[in-house]
Structure formats: C-alpha cells, structure tokens
Amino acid sequence: MTDRTEGGEPGGARLLALARRELLEALLPQLDGDARYRARLIANAMKIAARELAGEGPERAEIAHRLRGLAAAVLPGGVEVSALNDREVSAALCAALRDGRLDGQPEVHALLERLAQARSSLLD
C-alpha cells in the first residue's frame, strides 16, 4: 500500500485502501443478497483502481519495449518505430497478426502470453 503523506494529508492510494477495508470489514458483514453482491463489485473496482494508481511494474515496461522490437520488424519501409506511440505500435502488430505476417511465431506467442499474464495478475 502506498503510504505517502504530504504534511499529514494521506494520498489517494491510502484513502482508497482504507475505504475498501472499511467496506469489506465494517459494511459487508451487515449486507446480504443484492446489496452484498453490489458491495463486492465496489470492493473489486477499488482494488483494481488502487493497483492502477500504484503504477505499472518493470515487467510491463519490458513487455512494451519488446513489442516495439517486434513492431519494428513488420513496419513498412521508411516508418521508424521510435516515431510511434504505444497505441500505434499495437495497431501495427494487430495488422501484421491479422494478415498472417506473424503466423505461429513462438517469440510473438511468448510475448503475448507474458502480456496477458501481466494484465491478468493485476486482477488477482
């Protein structure tokens, strides 16, 4: 949990974590049925938001770097990968996947698996 205070002012991540704990420990036991289900949804959303606030780890940065490397190999001549943002890198890779230029490539598959695992673990 990020526990940064600025002059006694708890940060957003800490407030979110405390609010979630309050919801789960103080309120949830008093709820049932639909209200209980909704409280769980709220707690889940708070957990995801808190992790996102904490920022992406070095794993995600490395995956992004490797995706750029893959994109460089499939870009049309004259286009530099360094000129593209992450969204454009993804779009270039999607186009290559769709038209068969990356069919069955183990290196691509391994990287996509790492990315999916990283996205998935954020939600565990």
Binding site: I42, C94, L97, L102, G104, L112, A116, S120, L122
Partner: protein
C-alpha cells in the same frame, strides 16, 4: 400488490396490462395479484407475475414471467417479438422451455413490447449449481438431458417461415463470425493483440462447416433452470441464429463457462461423456472432438468481444453501470490467457 409493483412503471399500466392479458387469454378477466422484478438481466427486464385468470382455457391461478427490454438494448440482441418466435419454435420442437403464452407488440400497453411465458420452478444461478451437488438431480443425467435438449434445438433447420427474420444462414459460419469479431474489435478501437492472434489461428484452422441449424448461442450453465429433480427450462433465447451445431457444443463446454469446476468439462456440471452421448443419441449426429475444440476457442474469443462491448457501453454508451464496467475490465485478460494456451505455436499446422 407489493411495494415493488406499486412503485414501478407497471403500476400505472396495471389496468392496461390486465386488459391485454384477458383478451390474449380469451378470459373474462385477469387480475395481477402480485408483480416482482427479477434483477438479473443486464439486457432484459423480467417480472414475476402472479395472475388470477377468470374464464377461458387458462382459468385459475397462473404464475407467469413478463419479459421486456431493459433501458438500453444491445444491438446484437434480438427483439422481444423475435425472441418469442424462437422460443415458440423451440417449444414446438419439444425443447424444455418456459411455455410461451402471449406476445404484445403494442407500445400502448406498458410502453414497450413484451411477452409473457409460464413460469418454471428452480434456479439458474451457477453459484448454487456449483455449491449444491444435489441441485439438478443426478449430474450425469442432467448433462445427458441437456445434450438431448440441444439436439432438439438443432433439429430446427432453415428455412422456417416464422423465423424469416433470422435471414439466410451463412455459408461458412466460422469465417463469418471471425470477420464479425474483427469488425467489432475495430469498432472498439483495436489493439487487442491476443485476440487478433486467436482469430488468425481460427481463420486458418476452422473445420469444415456443419449444418446449418438453429443455434441457441448462449446455451451454458447459468441459462437453464433446475430444481432438485432435474431440468425445468432452457432460458435466454435472445442470441439465436442459424449456424454450425458444433458452435453451441463448444460454448457449453468452454473453460470460461465451467465456473468453480474446470475439471467438469461439460458446463462445470459433468464430464463431457454423458453430454456428448445424449446429444449424439438424440441427433444422430457424431461429435468431432476437434471441431468442438475449435469452437471452444471461438467461444473464448466471442465472450472476450462481448465483455469488451459491455465495458464500452459504460464509456460511450451513456450507461454508467459498475457491473458492465467491471465485465469489460475483469474478464478479457483471463480469456486471453486461455486463448493463447489453446493456440500455442505447436498447434499451428505446418505451412499455415
């Protein structure tokens, strides 16, 4: 009348609705004794109606369900009138469904089209099916029964005059679906690498098409009702379409619909064996495990696309629903992991 009904839109429409029901039932009068909303539908709105029918063939107490559109309808979902026609066709084919009673397309009655069906007992909640092993009766028998039911759905083949709205069946349902999902991903802004990988694998490895037959398209645990004895009704016909019968089998068996019991490959309730045997015995059609495996990958792709579309509804659809937002955020990554696992490089045919 409960507080729910008194406070609801149905309250001010009570007399109009009773009038419609009496005429539809050929009764002297119909009284709505009670009405309670079911909160389960993200797309549809369902009401439990306790009716007292005076005169006519349905005279007496009648427990019914009224089904109508929720606030925001999804484009891919069928209209209530079309759903009623599909439900009626399934009922005629001997599928165990809540008996369809009356359709009302007149907006003047409750403000939007709806239909009424006879209520069936039991529950459809996957959480309960996973926890209570005696629910639904013997699970192998339940799976075999579901196989037979699905075969009966698939016994309906085009053309059917009353299902003309389904359009012409696609020549190649798998390739048509792949093209459709790619279009949806483009509409969502693109960039879905794992889904593109999976779709390309499917494009290259689709088995020869079978059918066409009537597909339920959401035939899975969670969409059929059971009580302690067994199956009471198959629900949610809003995605019905002509297509390849193996697609419904793949959807039912896909890992993403096994809930707490991934080892029970037929919908988290039983092994595949009884389900396949029930289907094969009723349909006379042989199930090719490789074709089913293909359609299970397609099932994950389809569910991922639907989840993203539901998430998108909260971004641009003007529908601020936490549940829909979480659907779009929570499900796709795990589906991607599963899609990639099932389309590993060694599963690409040489030369493809």
């Amino acid at each position: 009348m409960t507080a729910d009904l008194a406070e609801s839109r149905l309250a001010e429409r009570k007399a109009a609705l009773e009038g419609f029901l009496a005429a539809a039932a050929g009764a002297e009068a119909v009284e709505i004794v009670d009405a309670r909303p079911l909160t389960d539908g993200a797309i549809q709105e369902n009401w439990l109606l306790d009716l007292q029918v005076s005169g006519g063939a349905q005279a007496g107490a009648l427990e019914a369900v009224l089904r109508t559109d929720a606030r925001s309808a999804v484009a891919v979902s069928r209209s209530r009138a079309e759903e009623f026609a599909v439900l009626s066709a399934a009922h005629r084919a001997g599928v165990t469904v809540p008996e369809p009673l009356w359709l009302c397309t007149d907006h003047g009655v409750i403000g939007k089209p709806f239909y009424v069906m006879r209520r069936v007992g039991g529950t459809a909640a996957p959480r309960r099916l996973m926890k209570e092993s005696d629910l639904g009766g013997d699970r192998d028998e339940l799976a075999a029964r579901l196989g037979r039911e699905l075969a009966r759905i698939h016994s309906i083949v085009p053309p059917q005059a009353e299902l003309a709205f389904l359009g012409a069946p696609p020549d190649n349902p798998a390739q048509a679906a792949i093209a459709r999902y790619r279009g949806y991903l483009d509409d969502l802004g693109g960039g879905f690498l794992a889904l593109e990988w999976g779709l390309r694998w499917c494009e290259l490895h689709a088995p020869p098409p079978q059918g066409p037959v009537l597909l339920h398209q959401d035939f899975r645990t969670g969409n059929y009702m059971v009580d302690r004895q067994g199956l009471t009704g198959i629900l949610d016909w809003e995605f019905a379409e002509w297509g390849d019968p193996m697609s419904d089998i793949g959807w039912f068996c896909a890992a993403c619909w096994r809930y707490a019991h991934p080892e029970l490959e037929a919908g988290g309730i039983a092994p595949r064996g009884p389900f396949y045997r029930g289907y094969e015995a009723e349909s006379g059609r042989r199930i090719d495990p490789e074709a089913v495996a293909f359609w299970e990958i397609m099932a994950h792709l389809r569910w991922a696309v639907i989840a993203l579309q539901q998430g998108e509804r909260t971004l641009s659809g003007g529908e601020d629903s936490l549940e829909l937002a979480l659907t779009g955020r929570v499900y796709p990554p795990a589906l991607e992991v599963e899609i990639l696992r099932q389309t590993a490089p060694q599963r690409w045919r040489a030369g493809s």
